[in-house]
């Protein structure tokens, strides 16, 4: 097990270097840089822009910039944001936390709803209930998330017009006066704001999970040992939970590790429409403004998490499935 971990961690290095260098290269290949749009400001002189470019180190060769970045990384320094004039980690960190809340909640929703629904479908396949659920799940993937969120916000505004209050907040992450609330109220407040966007995020992933779950349970239920268990006269409940579900759920657990990087890459465009101060708005800003080190920093973190997530997934699998051993 230990040797396995070490090997996986060594594999991490080329992947990490490859991903960050690729990102660096793509970013630098794009025309212009952070300072290009300043050039159209009639109040700024070209000399000033040249000076800033030098100060930011943007006049150096790409490889040198990358090496310097790597060197700083060894000191735990992800570089300096051009936009914020702050260390990248300080800029990214609060956003990561915010995205974590939203994506975390959506993952909870996903498994909390997806697994039972999939099991239900597997127990009653080809019934109207099965079809209805499938259709709803399809509906979720077929509608672009950002658009679904916009529709919900519109409906909330109409609800507010009709009744003078709204069941869910219209965008944002915290209520006004949030800082003066006691901690537990703060937690509730954030969750209350997160429910709707998290729900929207879930709709897109729900169908794949329920479908997978349905298939797995159906497959397991068809196995000989289940028939044996039933033949032994074990109650349906025991057969289902003790024998079928535990085996059917293994592949699903393996996917949990893969969710780690999505935790920080954020919930996508939903965050923009729902005005959630997560990673996506920051990433879009950073790409737009060509804030080199914020971009590279996000890539570096997400690469790291992806690899760690994969390893964790493998380990989890070994824990739940005694047949799997790593040497």
């Amino acid at each position: 097990m230990g040797a396995y971990l070490v090997r996986r961690l060594i594999h991490l290095i080329p992947t990490f270097l490859g991903a960050t260098f690729l990102a660096f290269l793509i970013l630098q290949l794009a025309p212009g840089d952070f300072l290009t749009r300043w050039a159209l400001d009639p109040k700024i002189r070209p000399e000033t822009i040249a000076l800033m470019r030098h100060n930011f180190g943007l006049d150096r060769p790409v490889l040198v910039q990358y090496l310097i970045w790597l060197k700083n990384l060894l000191h735990g320094d992800l570089g300096h944001s051009f936009m914020y004039q702050q260390p990248v980690l300080e800029v990214i960190w609060p956003r990561i936390l915010n995205s974590l809340i939203l994506v975390g909640l959506s993952i909870v929703f996903l498994y909390l709803i997806g697994i039972p629904v999939g099991v239900y479908q597997a127990l009653r396949p080809y019934t109207p209930g099965d079809y209805a659920i499938s259709f709803l799940a399809y509906f979720g993937i077929a509608i672009p998330n950002f658009f679904f969120m916009l529709i919900l916000i519109y409906l909330l505004v109409q609800f507010k017009f009709a009744h003078g209050w709204t069941p869910f907040p219209i965008g944002g992450m915290t209520s006004q006066g949030f800082d003066h609330l006691p901690p537990w109220r703060q937690l509730l407040d954030v969750l209350w704001h997160a429910v709707l966007p998290a729900f929207v995020v879930v709709t897109a992933d729900m169908s794949s999970l329920t479908r997978v779950m349905r298939g797995l349970v159906m497959e397991v239920l068809g196995q000989d040992y289940i028939r044996t268990a039933r033949a032994k006269g074990l109650p349906q409940r025991v057969v289902l939970y003790k024998h079928a579900l535990r085996n059917a759920i293994i592949p699903v657990i393996a996917t949990i590790g893969g969710l780690l990087p999505t935790l920080i890459s954020g919930a996508g465009l939903v965050e923009v429409v729902a005005n959630w101060p997560g990673m996506t708005p920051l990433l879009l800003d950073a790409i737009n403004q060509q804030d080199l080190y914020v971009n590279t920093g996000i890539i570096a973190l997400s690469t790291f998490l992806l690899i760690v997530g994969n390893i964790l997934g493998d380990l989890l699998l070994a824990v739940v499935d005694p047949r799997i051993r790593y040497g």
């Binding site: 793509i26 399809y138 509906f139 996508g268």
Partner: protein, 468 residues
């Protein structure tokens, strides 16, 4: 049972597919959608870029179609009234009313000689399924099935033309992703464990053996000797160049570092350069292609998709024909999408290559590429088909997302994503005042839904365990 044996694999699959009612329904709708897209000119009453400036029919609602003669009250051939526009100064929205004094019958199989179109860019025609005719258009009458956009262009015609882009973009992207995924995944799985040599070190015995072997008699000997000589030179230049580059990098880098850091940098980079040098001169460099491909897949998976979409888009030159942007979008989408397929194909190939029939073929001396092409890849076909049908809707959605942030298809072409973006730009007005502009969203929904139905049906059909 005897009857079944006579059926081929594909007949069986088709038989199973037919039982999946949703899949059949989906297939039917898709057929319809693709027919609409293919003969867009025929099914649209107007050119998608046709508009007039006097007056501008900005955001006109769908034109009401009348079936009863107002005078007699009897059923008549469908007709529309003329269009009258006023600006509502209270809400700042254009108001459109029917001009009951003018009546225009809807004509079928109408010809529009002033606005011809082409089918597949080859056949020119001006025959349209329905329309009001050129004369009525010149008089300012319009038949907007789904209203108009801010230029006053017919949204239905634009949607039908947009289908060409939106529906093909998924298929093309999947095709490219399939080629990449099958090729790289297949090679990676097949050659897993075989090490490929990437350097011809000057002072290694293996190198000289290799060069000697080239001198063996046979057809194209001169070419072979010459080619291997060039390879030797290339290897030298490449590896020594890399080492020199690294050392140069070190020199430049130390210019930006403090004294202590310089020592560390030198300690890290000089050995690295020496290693490179040794690969060029002493020890052959070999690697497992499987490692390379899988690392590549991992790297692509590590970078957030949205980031790749947007930044790759800005790397490609945008000073190009709008049609090129279409291909670029395809390229970007497939570049992001091939990794998952490659990983799965690799896994399948890994187990396939150990199968008896493959080892037998190998023992019979079947060339490797034929082995892969004839015996291994076909075995992944069922998975590939299912993957493709389920990936297409993903790509269709990705295109709409790309258009949403302004990096997708550009005018004069249009796509459902672009049209949905226009609806989104209208904000709440699109829901409240002109819900018909959401139609492209419904089209996306329909296409994604039906492709999923078909994909599910195919999966069930291919999977012997799910047969009913």
């Amino acid at each position: 049972m005897g009857e079944y044996r006579t059926k081929s694999h594909w007949q069986l699959v088709w038989q199973q597919f037919k039982r999946h009612r949703l899949a059949l329904l989906g297939g039917g709708i898709l057929l319809l959608l693709y027919t609409l897209a293919a003969f867009a000119g025929f099914f649209s009453p107007y050119d998608p870029n046709f508009y007039t400036l006097s007056p501008v029919y900005r955001y006109a609602p769908p034109t009401p179609i009348h079936f009863r003669d107002p005078a007699t009250g009897r059923l008549t051939r469908p007709f529309v009234y003329g269009l009258k526009k006023t600006l509502d100064l209270n809400t700042f929205v254009e108001k459109y009313t029917e001009d009951r004094t003018r009546r225009y019958p809807i004509r079928f199989f109408v010809r529009t000689p002033d606005h011809p179109y082409t089918i597949f860019k080859v056949f020119r025609s001006d025959l349209r399924l329905f329309g009001l005719g050129e004369k009525a258009t010149a008089e300012g009458a319009r038949l907007y099935l789904l209203g108009s956009d801010n230029f006053g262009r017919d949204l239905w015609s634009r949607m039908v033309y947009g289908a060409q882009v939106s529906l093909t973009i998924g298929i093309l992207a999947v095709l490219v992703a399939l080629i990449l995924g099958l090729l790289l995944g297949g090679l990676s799985g097949f050659y897993q464990g075989t090490r490929i040599r990437l350097s011809l070190p000057l002072f290694a015995r293996a190198t000289w053996r290799y060069l000697k072997a080239g001198e063996a008699r046979g057809p194209g000997r001169v070419l072979r000797v010459f080619g291997r000589g060039i390879l030797l030179v290339l290897s030298l230049v490449f590896w020594l160049g890399l080492a020199a580059g690294l050392l140069y990098g070190l020199v430049v880098l130390t210019g930006y570092s403090g004294a202590g850091e310089r020592v560390i940098e030198a300690l890290l980079m000089v050995p690295a350069a020496l290693w490179l040098l040794s690969r060029g001169l002493l020890v052959p460099f070999t690697f497992d292609p499987d490692d390379l491909v899988m690392r590549l897949v991992e790297i692509l998976a590590a970078i957030p998709g949205l980031f790749l979409l947007v930044t790759l888009r800005s790397v490609f030159p945008s000073d190009i024909d709008p049609l090129m942007t279409f291909y670029i979008v395809v390229a970007i989408l497939s570049l992001i999408g091939w990794g998952g397929l490659a990983r799965t194909v690799r896994g399948m190939v890994l187990s396939l290559r150990e199968m008896d029939y493959v080892t037998a073929a190998k023992a019979l001396g079947v060339p490797e590429f034929l082995l892969i092409l004839r015996h291994i890849l076909p075995a992944t076909a069922s998975y590939t088909i299912v993957y493709a049908s389920l990936a297409i809707p993903g790509f269709i959605l990705a295109e709409s997302g790309l258009s949403f942030i302004g990096f997708g298809i550009t005018e004069p072409y249009t796509s459902w994503g672009l049209l949905l973006k226009a609806a989104q730009d209208g904000g709440f007005a699109s829901f409240a005042d002109r819900p018909w502009v959401l139609a492209p969203g419904f089209a996306i929904f329909l296409a994604v839904l039906t492709w999923n139905f078909v994909g599910d049906g195919l999966r069930d059909a291919f999977d012997p365990r799910r047969r009913r």
